[in-house]
Symmetry: C2
Subunit: 269 residues, 2 copies
């Protein structure tokens, strides 16, 4: 198989990475995509860097066996914790959602103050902060873990009084800081965009890295002459580590279109 005809490999701890897949399909409809969601071991955001790195390596090894030309880590926690090491270890391009999100935030802010929210593991890693300071050393940054947002998104409580109070409880303490840009540093959080925006006010720009990540992938493929041509592409293969029947319905909500088939695949265990 010609190198450029290979697939784009994408993995996430679960279902959230499908928001990145949706953007990849929108911007590069001719590319084949293989997705792996580690639904048996989800979530990653509450676990240690060592364990997240081990899981990320196993997921990556699975995708490499599927003949991929690039690997996209569509999970903020795995991008924060594992990407720097995987970049060094791997011989094919690997990218994550972190740098694209950081770039978008650095470009969006006008007053130089940025807030980052994410899982405990992502925030503890300080990966977004380091990336942002590298882009612009003058930025002022605050960051905060919001663990309950994942459960609210998965429970489907996307608005209403309880969700609004939880958002207030986490974010009110940051109001005084006066950031004009808020990075949604977890692929689940965009589902709560409406409530978050209502709480922090319309003056605050919300950065959701899915779209930025798709553009970054496109740039990497172009730079490496890996863009597929021809019009027989567009396959989407989906694998998960838990049994597929729980995945399809929620997955279609995240992807925004039907998923034909989901296959079960253990990695690592």
């Amino acid at each position: 198989m010609k190198e450029e005809d290979k697939s784009i490999g994408v993995f996430d701890s679960g279902v959230g990475g499908l928001t990145v897949v949706a953007e990849l399909i929108r911007s590069m409809p001719g590319e084949d995509i293989v997705y792996f969601g580690d639904t048996a071991r989800v979530p990653y955001g509450t676990k240690s860097p060592e364990t997240v790195l081990r899981f990320a390596r196993e997921n990556l090894d699975f995708l490499k066996k599927k003949d991929v030309k690039i690997i996209v880590i569509a999970c903020n926690t795995a991008s924060s914790v594992a990407l720097p090491l995987l970049l060094v270890e791997e011989d094919i391009p690997v990218t994550g959602v972190l740098l694209p999100g950081a770039k978008a935030a650095a470009a969006a802010t006008e007053n130089g103050r940025i807030t980052i929210i994410g899982t405990s593991a992502t925030i503890r890693s300080r990966a977004y902060e380091k990336e942002l300071y590298r882009l612009n050393g003058d930025l002022e940054i605050r960051s905060l873990p919001c663990p309950l947002f994942v459960s609210l998104a998965e429970e489907g409580w996307l608005d209403g009084e309880i969700t609004e109070m939880v958002v207030h409880r986490y974010l009110d303490s940051l109001a005084e800081f006066g950031a004009d840009t808020l990075v949604l540093g977890c692929t689940h959080y965009p589902l709560l965009k409406g409530v978050i925006s209502k709480v922090v006010g319309e003056g605050v720009k919300l950065v959701d890295s899915a779209m930025e990540t798709a553009l970054e992938v496109q740039r990497i493929l172009e730079r490496n002459n890996l863009v597929r041509d021809g019009d027989d592409g567009g396959r989407f293969d989906c694998y998960v580590s838990d049994t597929p029947y729980l995945f399809k319905e929620v997955g279609e909500r995240f992807l925004g279109r039907p998923i034909d088939r989901v296959e079960h695949q253990n990695t690592g265990d």
Copy 2:
């Protein structure tokens, strides 16, 4: 080693099973205990029966290598989904938190109406209902998954307005049913006992199966002549599948005493 000098093996998806360990230590201080918490793959309650069964088998195999005389599944989800099969497969005694909890509820109710709350997997399995109907075919039972309770307990939001509203949102629909007994069918839920009791009213008895499970283990050991004698016992060995440093602090809250040492151990993966 004499059979009765072997340890009691206990496993859970994470930290919650330590509430059962606390009761085992209280009632049988001379026994050695080996605990395994599958913190790398926690939670089980949102995953499929097939995956939970696979994890349970792997945890059980790990404990068997540690020379145990009985295995206690201190996790409602794994007890609901995996115990019936494991009982048939294994040649040492295996018990879970489910039957003790069901027995306590059947004994506690006066009006014959019982509500069960637990994880999605536990409720979907209908295991508590089947066990209760076997004990008393005249009972009336309602059951309800409350997924957000686990996140609230882990976030440490054990009381306050938000937690009270979440409890109302889940449980108000069951008020009309008029149960006098509520089974806390997840080892995390007892941490929210105060708020739950306030919402459902003091007339409703809350059943927390940890203590009942310890009594059941004692009965099984006595029946099989497996009670340890001598006074050199009382060791507690603790293994987890994620790195231990995240486990110790929360673990001590659940166990109610210090944990000397936690070792890291992968099972399955």
